[in-house]
């Protein structure tokens, strides 16, 4: 691994760590509030999986939601800020390859997603603990989910010319896809039409696959989820690398 790549990775991690109150503590608190409110209101009324309480069901969904949203926020906000401030020039002038650029931004996003997800999981221990049925499955989905959203953040950060455009990306794409992915419910509780709609949402497969890792139960086959999530990751990686290689909106 080159020093340039390691430095860019370090800088991206240091950037979010320096404002960790905003980038780590705040999203953990939001998820804990979701857990307290939804868990309190719906506990005993819903049992999405056999032998799993609603609060226990909710926890992996919230952990994964935090991982995904924060992975996206890291790469996208870093890039748009650098572009608007003009300090993106400091990573464009040195001999950093487009692959190193991609790897550093996405890895830093994964790290932030995992740090926030871990924080949410730690806080959730006060509410419920159900163990981890298949740790490797859980790890695979959390890592791939974070990588996908880190790549998507990179694409959005490069594409957007102003914060408004990035906000639209976040509010009209990421947020609906996350909220409609079964974080708060099992899609089996939806009408057939909406179940079919959920099956074209890759976020559903990330969260459902992660739940399989935790409970050993899921709405869809974990292998199908793995295939869909893997394809989404591959597609976004190729798209990001192509944008970086061509210098799209970075090098005129």
């Amino acid at each position: 691994m080159s020093t340039a790549f390691l430095t860019l990775l370090y800088k991206e991690m240091l950037r979010f760590w320096k404002v960790s109150f905003q980038t780590v503590a705040a999203p953990v608190l939001s998820s804990v509030l979701y857990l307290m409110i939804f868990g309190h209101v719906l506990e005993g009324r819903l049992q999405p999986f056999e032998g799993v309480s609603y609060t226990s069901f909710l926890i992996p969904g919230l952990v994964m939601m935090s991982v995904l949203q924060n992975a996206f926020a890291n790469s996208s906000s870093s890039l748009i800020q650098s572009k608007i401030n003009g300090n993106i020039i400091f990573v464009l002038l040195p001999p950093i390859s487009y692959r190193e650029f991609y790897a550093a931004y996405v890895l830093a996003s994964i790290v932030r997603g995992l740090v926030v997800g871990f924080g949410v999981w730690l806080a959730s221990l006060f509410f419920s603990w159900s163990g981890v049925a298949h740790p490797l499955w859980a790890l695979a989905f959390v890592l791939m989910g974070a990588a996908i959203l880190g790549s998507l953040g990179l694409v959005a950060g490069i594409w957007a010319d102003k914060f408004d455009q990035l906000g639209a990306f976040q509010n009209f794409l990421i947020m609906p896809l996350t909220m409609l992915s079964g974080v708060f419910y099992s899609i089996n509780s939806l009408p057939v039409f909406w179940q079919q709609v959920s099956h074209i949402n890759p976020f559903f497969f990330m969260i459902d696959g992660f739940r399989y890792g935790i409970f050993g139960q899921s709405d869809a086959s974990p292998w199908l989820s793995l295939a869909i999530v893997g394809c989404a990751w591959l597609a976004l990686t190729v798209l990001s690398l192509q944008m970086l290689r061509r210098g799209y909106k970075l090098r005129g």
């Binding site: 401030n85 020039i89 400091f90 090098r251 005129g252």
Partner: protein
Amino acid sequence: MPSIDTPAIQVRGAVKQFGSLQALAGVDLEIRQGEFFGLLGPNGAGKTTLISGLAGLQRLTAGSIQVMGHDVIADYREARRALGVVPQELVFDPFFSVRELLRIQSGYFGIRKNDDWIDELLASLDLTTKADTNMRQLSGGMKRRVLVAQALVHKPPVIVLDEPTAGVDVELRQTLWAFIRKLNEAGHTIVLTTHYLEEAEELCGRIAMLKAGRVVALDSTPNLLSRVSHHALKLRVAGLSSLPASLAARDAVLQAGGLEIPFASHSQVEGLLATVREAGAEILEVEIAKPDLEQAFIEIMEGEGA
């Protein structure tokens, strides 16, 4: 390892098109190692586009650029290692202190431990006391000096300064130029763009003038100055209420007791003074104004049409 004969910068047929606008219209330029080179031109002439092409921030529509013999696209790693760029805009990363930024910038160039050189840079640019200060808390002049330090962390043989003294006060400007001169004396090639033509005249050994994306003049600074068609005889006079026909024919200008008469050769001075006296004027003060780069710049730009 490039030989001593390898040009520090070689630009061949550089064309850059932005839609219907041609920012560079076929620029050819060679800058030798160790030169202090000026790149001048009015706003929109293509200076910053050329520097962006050199730094790999813009891709040329046609043509090629090499830095120390390395193509900026095909061999971008070596080309960028050989180049330090001080950008025109006052940009900074608000998350970090000066020292953190310089360490990070060193790492981007593959240098893990660079504190000795960073300390030297901080001292040379009078930033030692600000090393641990966040960039947001620095004045404009200090931010400008940090930009210079960032461009130099990897000790590049070629340094490009894109209007480095814009908004910098006189004292800091002197510090900066003394440091840049030292780097040039140590063998670094310096490429300077500036709107302060007296700076270019004082510092640069050779100058290229750009207009509408083309090089309209490229010569040593003395040769460019010699292209200016006239010196000027500046007199403070008494007893001259209007300009006599003999002086008006020489494009002389009379204004508030001051008379300015352009001339081509010093041998004409005696004759001109006699003409003034013959017109009934008393000469109180005499000054011969040498041609300066500003005159050369204006004449060359006017000569090239609008």
